[in-house]
């Protein structure tokens, strides 16, 4: 019995260490966001702001067009999420139900695309979008996000489709439902929770994305939130810490909320996809 208690204590100590490592940068971000400039300039920073203030938030909105950038991010991310699930769900259905050279190629692409170094894709992508006149355009960026979200979306959705027994469809067919009817009114409702989770995940990935936005958007008014956040940091690496922390904190909130909602489903979906493939 004695050793068991010892093990437990060790486990709790380890867990506590993990909690500290994971949490302390987050708490520091929060703490910095509520400190006054004078306090930030003092040599002995404290965990809890001595005079908590909301000035940093006001100043953040004054310094950079945060709202406009958030709107751009929202448009690109929501657009990408909707288009991605709309086009990925049918393909995922075919991959899950058929085995043909084409579906195998699609599965291969899902795997290989994970290994794409972005640098090899970004230059040609830049040139292709330029020719399509979609460079420096939110719509162009949205399309890039769609394709970028597809591998993971397909991976998840194939798992969800496989979880729907083929017998359900057969029964619908026996009852006289056509192929499209079966898909729309029988399969789709069963997939709805999975489709929602996948779409929300695509939303978060796009909302957080930085590299494509940095390269593909040039006009200031079109830039997305992550790119605008980096503008708080000056050329020499000098930053106004308070507003920077405040803006960074605000930009994270949507991702956190959405992620909290879908977390269980995403981890579950990853597993089903992994096991069945």
């Amino acid at each position: 019995m004695r050793t068991r208690t010892g093990t437990r204590i060790g486990q709790y100590a380890a867990l506590l260490a993990y909690l500290v490592f994971l949490a302390f940068p987050l708490l520091w971000l929060l703490s910095t966001a509520f400190k006054s400039p004078r306090e930030l300039g003092s040599l002995h920073p404290t965990w809890i702001p001595r005079h908590p203030t909301l000035d940093n938030f006001r100043q953040a909105f004054d310094e950079q067009p945060l709202l406009h950038a958030a709107l751009n991010s929202l448009l690109a991310a929501a657009g990408a999420a909707v288009i991605a699930v709309l086009i990925a769900t049918p393909l995922a259905y075919v991959i899950a139900r058929r085995r043909t050279p084409l579906t195998r190629a699609a599965t291969g692409w899902v795997v290989v695309s994970q290994a794409f170094p972005l640098v090899l894709v970004i230059i040609p992508l830049f040139l292709v979008l330029k020719n399509l006149r979609l460079i420096d355009s939110l719509f162009g960026l949205t399309l890039v996000y769609v394709v970028w979200a597809l591998p993971f979306a397909l991976w998840m959705l194939v798992g969800y489709v496989r979880a729907v027994p083929a017998e359900v469809e057969e029964a619908a067919a026996v009852d006289g439902a056509g192929r499209l009817r079966t898909l729309v009114s029988v399969v789709a409702p069963l997939l709805a929770p999975g489709i929602t989770a996948t779409g929300l995940f695509a939303f978060v990935t796009a909302w957080n994305e930085f590299f494509f936005a940095l390269v593909l958007l040039k006009t200031a008014e079109k830039q997305t939130l992550p790119v605008v956040l980096t503008h708080f940091i000056g050329a020499e690496g000098v930053a106004d810490l308070g507003p920077l922390a405040a803006a960074a904190f605000l930009a994270t909130l949507p991702s956190l909320v959405v992620f909290a909602v879908i977390q269980r489903r995403i981890t579950g979906g990853m597993l089903t996809g992994a096991v069945k493939n």
Partner: protein
Amino acid sequence: MTLASATRRPARSAPRAAGEGPLADRGAWFLVLPALIPILVLSVGPLLYGILLAFTDSQSGRTQATRWIGGLNFQDLLHDTLFWESFRIGLVWAVGVTVPQFLLALGLALLLDEDLKLRWLARALAIVPWAMPEVVVGIMWRLVYNPDAGVLNETLRDLGLGDGRDWLSGLGSALPAVIVVGVWAGLPQTTVALLAGLQNTPRELHEAAAVDGAGAWRRFRTVTWPALRPVALAITALNLIWNFNSFALVYVLTGGGPGGRTRLPMLFAYEEAFRYGQFGYAAAMGCVMVAVISVLLALFLAGRLRGGDDT
């Protein structure tokens, strides 16, 4: 319609049956094309185009036509010591992040698999870095590392360990400092994958081994690890690739400085392409990166798979 679907039904009830064409029936094309076209235009196409670009002198904003120059870019690259230095840094970064990431994630996953009290909090916290924008992770750690207003130096001062330093601008400390951030940022995904793998291990086997008097380490080695191996291999391989290709985190933290000490290959190629406009040369760098990483990964996976007695 009823008749048509009835005749097609056998194909559907036997999903594994090989189709007669690229797809078993025409209706499926209608389902596949909406995704296939963007994939071809914006993913497969650019990738192939990128490989071709590596053999040209393509530059941004040039009026002359782009010419084929064969392997000239690669020849130049061979003698580009700055690139290989960056490549070396990239490998140090990728391995330096992936290995601790895996070990820490394994520890955390094992803890979360136990019936501990604060598990819910750890689970919630472990998800946060995954949900955060990489740019915010970078900004947050800049605040931690800040020489004056940062918590790291303040803690060191409190503990009487000296005045601390400017972590991100120190020639020696910059790379280790960004590696710590990389580990922090990637910990959740690895933990979640390993935890999922752990929950697939046979419980009964575990209990049986415990009854037989096998200690915790023996149980881990003989029961848990064999079941976990496939997941562990897959996530480690993916982590290596992802980390080698990472960009935003270091871009925000150091921008590649000081003196190029944290200039990962992605940052190098980005500057070459979009600051200096050398598209062809940067594409060649991309090709070299893919090639070397593929070879390393193949070696890693082959070695691991051969080393295994089962699975």
